[in-house]
Structures are given as structure tokens and as C-alpha cells.
Amino acid sequence: MLDPTSQLFDRYLDQPQTIPRDLRARLENACASESVQLYGLADLDSSLRLCQIWVALTANYFGIARTADRMIDEQIRVIERSRLTKVVEEPGLSCTVAHVLVSNEEHPFATIRYSHRQRQAVSHVLFAIQQQLEGEPAELIDNYRQSMVRPIKEAQASVNTSRLAIVWRLLGYLKPYRWQVTLGMTGASIMTLARLLPPLLTAHVIDDAIRPFQNGTLAASAAWQLALVLLAGLAATFVVQELAAWVRLRTMAVLGEHVARDLRTEMYDHLHRLSVSFFSSKQTGSIISRVGSDSDRIWDFIAFGVVELSLSFLLLIGLSIVLIALDFKLGLIMSLPLPLLLYLIYRNGKTMHGFFLRAWRKWSNLTDTLSDTVPGIRVVKAFDQAEHEKRRFEDRNESFTDECFRIHHVWTGFWPVLMLLVHLMTLLVWVFALPRLLSNGSADLTTGTFVAFLLYMGMYVYPIEIIGQMARLLNRALSSAHRIFDLLDTEPQLVETHRGIQLTPLQGLIDFRDVTFGYDRVRLTIKGISLRIEPGELIGLVGPSGSGKTTLINLLVRFYDPIGGEIRIDGVPLKELDIGSFRRQVGMVLQDPFLFHGTILENIRYGLQAASLSEVISAAQAANAHDFICRLPNGYDTVVGERGHTLSGGERQRVSIARAILHDPRILILDEATSSVDTETEHQIQEALNRLVAGRTVIAIAHRLSTLKRASRLLVVKDGRLAEQGTHLELLGLENGIYRKLHDMQLRLNEAHAV
């Protein structure tokens, strides 16, 4: 069986999965028999037509191999990597041009062109050359296939799953509720079959009681007796039918809720297992809608869709059998056009799809206007653009409504035509039945049978309508199920050790040993950093934006694992620690602290649910938060967070510090904790932080270097490397030092502000 990547290639990408074997062999031959380690496809030629030009790296060679096509013969050119001097990439709208230069700038070894689809794979090849030129050879990890399918995987993770497989998997969630399913389906089947009885009983009343009485062949009392028995049967059928309907509706509705609940719980549990990288690659709204509205659609499908759809087919088949059994010829008139009717419904669905797409597109336009202007209403008002926005909205609203009119025009036209066809079938039945009904003596069709026929024909419409509507419900449910399974199938990137070592309490000794890391595994953000932080040390982490400070913190709390080197805590490799126990002893105070929707009390208690009220107050006092909390009308019971009371940035920060104090971490991380507040608030926060840091290992990131003067050591990070380290005064003493430059720059900036 093909692996998922191969399946994606086969299905969606019209290009080879690997460099063709023969071509590779010839290329390697030209590269002194060295094997190709990294390659990509440049898919545009010099006249910007699609082609196949492979760019490849071996240990010592760079090669270009163009596969033969109608325009050109195969071409292979190679060069020793040591002779290359520069790589220049010029990105355009859909084509990047890259020049691979040798010493003579006028004559590059190669100029290649490629679309965005190929960009990542080709860029990796070029990046590896660049790194070598800078004296930092990169590890050659072949990622051609992965980079090609990544955009598709991100849009649709389990794309290789067929619709049928999704339905089966979804139905698998019914397994724990076998008896409810059996009960519900039995109820539904009884209800359907019971529907077939009344016309049959009616036929008997007419043929065996009314007609014989009218002909004088049956006595009045006998006719009454028979008619009453049949009527009682009819009444019993109705009761059974509705009882079965009740059982079915109740069971399946409850069952649907069970399945939706199970899916929601499974998804939420799984979300907490997933790595931070998953959350950075998916939009919050998309994750929330999977747990929320998608599971709701599944309920709809399980509660009604599954049963309605299967019963509609059951009813149609049952009706055809009964009609043919009642009267073969008339039965055929009703049953034979059935496939045609279903085909027409299918065709109509296809046509409607186009109309729905148009309406959906116009609806997106309309909601875009809303999502633009509602959050940006201040800008709209400030620039006096209300009229312009109103016109824009009206235009789009009008355009969407026009599409809705079109849809209504089409569907309202289709159903009467379809019903006309059903009525035509009824008329045909009449045409064929009348001569038989009106013929004297040889009446092979009784009035009762014919009346039953008419009643059955009336029942044809309902299942046809349901099948027409169900196609849409089924599609929506499948999309939702797909999104849910996509989330459930995402594997956590971090492998947690079972029964990891629990260090309680942590001493707080942090040891980075030649740690290397890159978010995409090729471009390194951290390049071989080694550092040792003793327990109780207060470390200041300094460096320009993008230098790798926050990445170091992400590695320390194990949001990601390094791709090289090792991190040890109290001498034990971080990977071997029980991650939960470790994180419980690490506290973070971030630049923009997040408060959950709930009371201030709940927020402070977040890391230690069992904390007493006096402990909470002590923590708040230490965090300089107690006073402002008491000034709020509801004190510690004030609801904050989303949709709650709005706290200022400084207030939220102090609540988060109180939370950290109560959490009592052994290792504390302060990430720009005071960067976005005014001087007075900063003073209060700084005071709170001074109390918080006592007796812990602290790593503080700060742009305002003045806040780090108390640090026992400052580490300066630049381009993913540890560039300088020492105390504030030691680093200031370094001639041309990075820290000294940053410090001088901030000093000048402060003086400029003072002026």
C-alpha cells in the first residue's frame, strides 16, 4: 500500500515523486559517483514554460539535470561545490529566479527558475550551498517529497481517506451504543413497514366489506363486522407506527448526543496532548469550530441523517415490492421510472452545487465586510467612511441576495417538474387501470386494490424528497467528520517518556549542551548553544529581535525538542523527565499575560487549585495586586478575561505574577514582563518581581536593559549563538561588544526622549 505522501503525489501533483532513477544515476556518475543527498525541482525554463530541471547536491558537487522533453535533449552539468561563490534568489509573483555564481559574476554557473510550489525544496538546496559558503555546512536532509505535499497536508491532513472510509469510521463511534442503535433502527424499520399496511387494509375494507355489501353478496351485519375488524387493525397500525416513530426519534436523538459528546471529549483530550507547533500552524477559530459546530453537525447526521436516508431507500424498495405484488403491470409503471427520478435528483444536486458555490462566494464577500468594519469601526468613523462602507455592504448584500433569488428560481422550478413526473406516473396508472376497472365481468383489478395503489403512490413523494435533501446533509457531515478526524489523527511531535523521572523538588540547575534547533529542521534558529545556569541564579537574556531568545525558552520548557545536543535539568536529560511534573515546577510571566474567563480568584489559583484564600491574598499582596483588586466592586470575585471585566495591561500582569507566586515555581521565566507598561506600573511590577525571583532560578528576557541590572549574569544571544556573557559591568567594558552597543543605543534614545 502507498504511504500517505505517495498517495498525495499521485492524486494532486503532476510531477515525479523523486528524481528519476536513470537520471539520478547519470548525475551521480558525473559527480565522481557521489550519491545525491538533497535535491529539488526547478519547474520553469528560461522562456518560463513548465519543464523538469533537477538541482541536486552531493557531498562535494552541485549538479543540474534537465530531463529530455519535446523541446530539448537531456542535459547534465555539475560543478564542485568549492568553486561556487554566491547564491542570489530573486522572488517574483509566481516565479523565483536564482543565480548560482562562480567567481565570474558575469557568467553564473546556473540561473534557475521555479514556481512557489518548488520553492521550499529548491531553497533548501541553495541554502545548503549558502551555509557552506559561510563556513557553516548544514546537515543535508532530503525534504523534497515532504515540502511538496506540506501545503496540501496543512489544508487537508487525511486526504487519502475516501468518503466511504469516513462514514465507516464515524459509524464506528456507534459501537459502544449497540443496543440503542438496534432499538432505534428497529423502531425506524417498524415505523416504515407499518406505513405500508394502511393502504392494504383499506383495500380489504373496500373489496371484502363495502363492495360485496353493495353488490348484495354480503349481509349488512357481516359487512359491518368485517369492516370494524379491519378498522381496528388500521387503528392498531397507526398506534404501532407512531410508537415506533417515538422510540426511533428519542433513541437516535439521544444517541447522536452521546456520539457528539464522545467526539468532543476525545478531541479536547487530544488537543492537550498536541505540541505547541500544532497550535501555531492552525487558526484558533478552526480548532474551536471543530470541537463546536462540527460535532453538532455529526449529531444532526447520526440523529436524523443515517436513519432517514436508509429508511427512505427501504421505503422506496418496500413500495416497489408491494406495488408489483399487488398488480404486476401497474407496479412496473410506478417502479421502472424510479431510477430516472433518482438520477434527476442527482443531476439537480450537481446543478445546484454551482449555484450554492456562487452564493457562498457572495456570502463570504458580505461577511468579509462585517469582519473588516466591526473591529475597525474607530478607523471607519475617524476617516468618515461610514457612507462608503454602507454602500459597499449594500452592494454585496444585493449581490448575495441576487444569487439567492437564482437559487430559489432553480429549485422552486425543479421540484414541481419532478412532482409533475410523479403525477404523470399516477395518470399513466389511471390510463392503464381504467379499462380494467370498467370492463364487465372480467375485472382482474378490484376497486380496493386500485385505491390501495393510489394511496401507495402518494407515499412515493416523501422518500424522494428526503433523498434529495440528504445529499447535502451527508456532504456537510462528511466535511465535519473529516475535520474532526484530521485533528484526532495529528500526532504529537514530542515523544513523552512513559514513567518519566520526577524531580521533586527541582534544584533548578539548567544545562544546555551544544543545543541546535530550527523550526523547519533546516534553517537553524539555535546554533550549538552551551550554557550552564546554577540554581538560584538570575540570568538576563539579551539580544536583538529574532536572535533566538524566545526559542531558547521554548526549548527549556520543552514546547519543542532540540534537533541536536541536549538539555539537562539537575543533571537529568530533559527528555527523560516526566513533562507534567517538570512543568508544574516552572513558572512563566509573559509580556501579554493571558487571563482565563473566570474570577480573579480562579485565575490566581490556576496553578494551585487547593490554595487557601489567605494564601491567595498573600500572593496578590506580594504581586502588588491586592490593592487594585480590593478597589474592584466584586473584589477577588470579579470576572475577568474574555467577555469579563477589562483590566489594564499592568493589572493583568500583576494578577499573572500573583498566579506565578502561588504556583511557587523552582524555575521562573520572565519574558518581557515589563515592556508594555508605563513607568509607575513598571516600578510596581518590578517590585513584585523582585519578591518573586528570590530563591529561584530565573531567566529574564528584557528589551529595557536597565531592568536587568540586578541579574547575576547576562547572556547575549545573536543569530542563534551565545555571543557574550558576564555581568552588566563586565559586558559594558567590552570594546565593540554587542551589549555595550545596545546599551549605548538605549541610553541615547532615552536622552532623545528626555529632550
Binding site: 494532486y12 518560463l48 557568467h107 510550489r117 496540501i152 486526504v159 458555490l357
Partner: protein
């Protein structure tokens, strides 16, 4: 302002000849869709602007030809001339098309729609970020029908 002199070297790169000798530049259209032929920014290898050309017409013939050649690469998008199929799958819309550059299959998200540019053409962006220009009026009847749901 002195007349700008532009040439293309043997490697196909654009060079601006100024007082300090030739400088390697690449052109960027400031308004690639609304006014592609105007306001062209010439960027050096560090991506700083060294000149802003308001109209390519203002250059001499040779320089204009050099600029247009370089601009063809920078402004390149796939030109769709025929649509073979557009299928909605779970979460994805799969387009099979013929372009001036050759046959191409690409995917978009279901709620990523082609958008109109300059009145007569529409542009759709695929999952990888490549752009496809479609001129609905110039399509054959079958392609027109397949594209009908996406045009204005």
C-alpha cells in the same frame, strides 16, 4: 533627472548603469495588478530601492526592452487558457487546467475564491502561493461553464 540606462547581462540579470558603474537590480511592479506598467521600483541586491520608474515608456528603447525582459520574470503568473475540471473534495478544490506554460493541477481551499483584477481577468492563488490568471471571456464554452460559479 538623467536618463536611466538599463541592460541585461549574459546571465539575464538587469543592470542599472549609473555614475558609480553598473549595479545589479531587479524590478518590482508597485501595482502588479491595478497598473502593471507603471511605478516600477528597481531594487539592489540588498533589496533597497535605487530608482523608481514612473513609466517604462520614459526609457530609451534598449533600456525598455531590458526592463520588460526582467519584468516578465518578476511578474510571471500562470496564464490559464483552458479549464479541464474543477472538483470539490473534502476541504480542497482541485483544478486541472491548461496554461500557456503547460498543463497544471493545483489546489485551493474551498473558501479561497478567485478575485477580479482590472475588470476583465480573475486571479486565483493555490495552496503553495502560485497565482493563476484566468480571463473568463476568452475561455472555450466548456471552460466557461466550469468557471461560471467563480466569475462575477
Amino acid at each position: 533627472m538623467n536618463q536611466l540606462i538599463l541592460t541585461v547581462d549574459k546571465a539575464g540579470r538587469l543592470r542599472l548603469h549609473g555614475e558609480n558603474g553598473p549595479v545589479l537590480v531587479r524590478p518590482i511592479a508597485c501595482f502588479p495588478w491595478s497598473s502593471p506598467g507603471e511605478y516600477l521600483s528597481l531594487r539592489d541586491t540588498d533589496d533597497w530601492e535605487v530608482a523608481l520608474i514612473r513609466e517604462a515608456q520614459s526609457l530609451d528603447t534598449a533600456s525598455r526592452a531590458a526592463l520588460e525582459q526582467a519584468l516578465a520574470q518578476a511578474s510571471f503568473v500562470f496564464e490559464v487558457n483552458q479549464i479541464d475540471s474543477v472538483e470539490d473534495e473534502l476541504e480542497l478544490r482541485v483544478w486541472k487546467v491548461q496554461t500557456d506554460q503547460g498543463p497544471r493541477t493545483f489546489q485551493t481551499k474551498l473558501d479561497h475564491w478567485p478575485h477580479a483584477i482590472n475588470g476583465e481577468a480573475m486571479v486565483v492563488r493555490d495552496l503553495a502561493g502560485d497565482l493563476y490568471r484566468i480571463k473568463p471571456h476568452s475561455l472555450d464554452p466548456k471552460s466557461k461553464e466550469l468557471f461560471w460559479a467563480f466569475r462575477e
